[in-house]
Symmetry: C2
Subunit: 367 residues, 2 copies
Amino acid sequence: MDQKTAKTRIDAVRQQCKQSKVQAMIVMSVENVRYLSGFTGHDSWLLILPDKAILITDSRYTEQARGECVGCKVFERKGALTAAAADFIVGAKGVRAVAIEDSSAISMLGVVKKAIKRKIVPVRGFVEKLRAIKTEDEIRAIEKASRIAWLALRQTLPLLKAGMSEAELCAALEFNMKMLGAVPGFDTIICFGPNASRNHHQPGQRKLKTNDTILIDFGCKYDGYICDITRCFVFGKPTPYYRKVYDAVAAAQQTAIDMIKPGVCLADVDAACRKVLADAKVAVYGHGTGHGLGLLVHEDPRIAGTAKKEFFEAGQIITVEPGSYVSGKIGVRLEDDVLVTEKGHRVISRNKGLCFEPAEMPVLKNK
Amino acid sequence: MDQKTAKTRIDAVRQQCKQSKVQAMIVMSVENVRYLSGFTGHDSWLLILPDKAILITDSRYTEQARGECVGCKVFERKGALTAAAADFIVGAKGVRAVAIEDSSAISMLGVVKKAIKRKIVPVRGFVEKLRAIKTEDEIRAIEKASRIAWLALRQTLPLLKAGMSEAELCAALEFNMKMLGAVPGFDTIICFGPNASRNHHQPGQRKLKTNDTILIDFGCKYDGYICDITRCFVFGKPTPYYRKVYDAVAAAQQTAIDMIKPGVCLADVDAACRKVLADAKVAVYGHGTGHGLGLLVHEDPRIAGTAKKEFFEAGQIITVEPGSYVSGKIGVRLEDDVLVTEKGHRVISRNKGLCFEPAEMPVLKNK
């Protein structure tokens, strides 16, 4: 992050503070602190005052913070976070009310109030709102994360053989991500056979058998930013039923992606996506159709039936991930990451020459 | 977890609810939900009513929850979590006030209040208090986690060679953990040379050189439970200064461990540990001396100067991890996990034949 970006972001928070009649904000969420300051550590608060911003950290992080922070000062506390924040607020002029994120713990309300002796105002989405619209650097980071994810998968698939466990495949995939300079963006989901009907299955000791299906929901974090991709494979010969479900999910996903452009209602995309599956007479997923991506794997907005008053905006990056599941029998999900552009959209997780295009069901051979 | 353990835990929560004059509790924290129900997924609440407990989940987790839950019913919601919780509370007799964890998000106060139309009472530590005292099963899980961590490290160290990066070493260590049936319990810290002065350094592209020092802060999660271990190595020939600091940290750690038994004040252990380093005239760490371990890597209690009214209790598992750091120059930390027993303590992270005993500074050779 450069000085100018940091200033723009912190000023945008100050603007929202002003509208909410607070003169300062204590930013506690790790991701929000990072977004506004560049600091990648934990247990530190960013205090935004009318004329300056201060990262309050401790001795474990001081050295790192001084190297990373942009657009704010770094203060190493000796006592409690609240005590340090209180000192700065007392020293600043005209701070009568202080905002904190309403995602902070309830206990913080009392703790901060007691130390700071100002009105404490929980506020919603001041930083998350900014985070939803990605800059060029953020888009590039997610594209790079996607590229590494695919490279890692391509290096891993040749290891597949009957008898290998989900956990072993997961270990190899995540190892390859790390050797390529990234880390897993979230707990990788790998399901062999009917385990795929468990949407958030954890890779276990289930061993791969010939003609098994494989679901891999994976993503890398690169430079703090996360991609989120799901593909399904057949390890041998697909059944006609699996092919039917796969094709329906692929059609549903493409239908949803094709609709994405600024101004389109998120709930409409959700409905259209589900309709393709219902029309094909296969099970319709119970989870959402997609979610924003960035410093966290789940961010605003959500593509869901409830998002009737939400509309796509240029700069958003969201997943599109319909699925079809029958408990204990079958599970198919296809997921890509889509950037909303001024004129429409660009799928940023289908890296040319690396990705498996969802339209074609990938069949892998036992070597 | 067996039926009896689940019942004991849920009854203990009910008892605390009673004392706080609330008739029900909504448990939201992932770890607390797991501790009380056995459910290992996310985005689900455990509702504790006077006569029953209900895990409220969604279609992504229903199958998994039905397999995992003990001592509670599983309910698959179609609408919002709050709406489902409200329905059960309205259906229960005599529930006038409902507890929620004060670690929940501030936004939950309004959301839950609106849906449930009962008095909402934020409470502190109802479940965390129980979690601080480990059962035999929990102790065994952490011991097993430690065993796997050491096995993984032993498999990894022979790969060490000059030119290898911190990130590559980390990738190999975490791969080995996974192949042994565990996962990393937290972001592994690997520091070559002076990077060790950054307490929470993330493994990066720094390459290993002959005569470098290496700090590895690592742990596995096994069956949900985490161990947390730090060791320091010399890759070649140690300097007299490094040896001096290492020996002082080892002495400080052992001094602290030797004091641990039920009834001893945590702040006293903290002070004694720091004094060994001060007396040896080496830098005294700025972080805490130790923390509880379990489903989370940082739990209650904390061994710190502020814990003047806290005393060890049998069944606690805590880390002891003094360190000595000079920014940009040197960093040494030694960390073990200690079970408080009825009569004293047992160090559970020094697995015989596998661990590096902290008393002897390990010197590794470039092969």
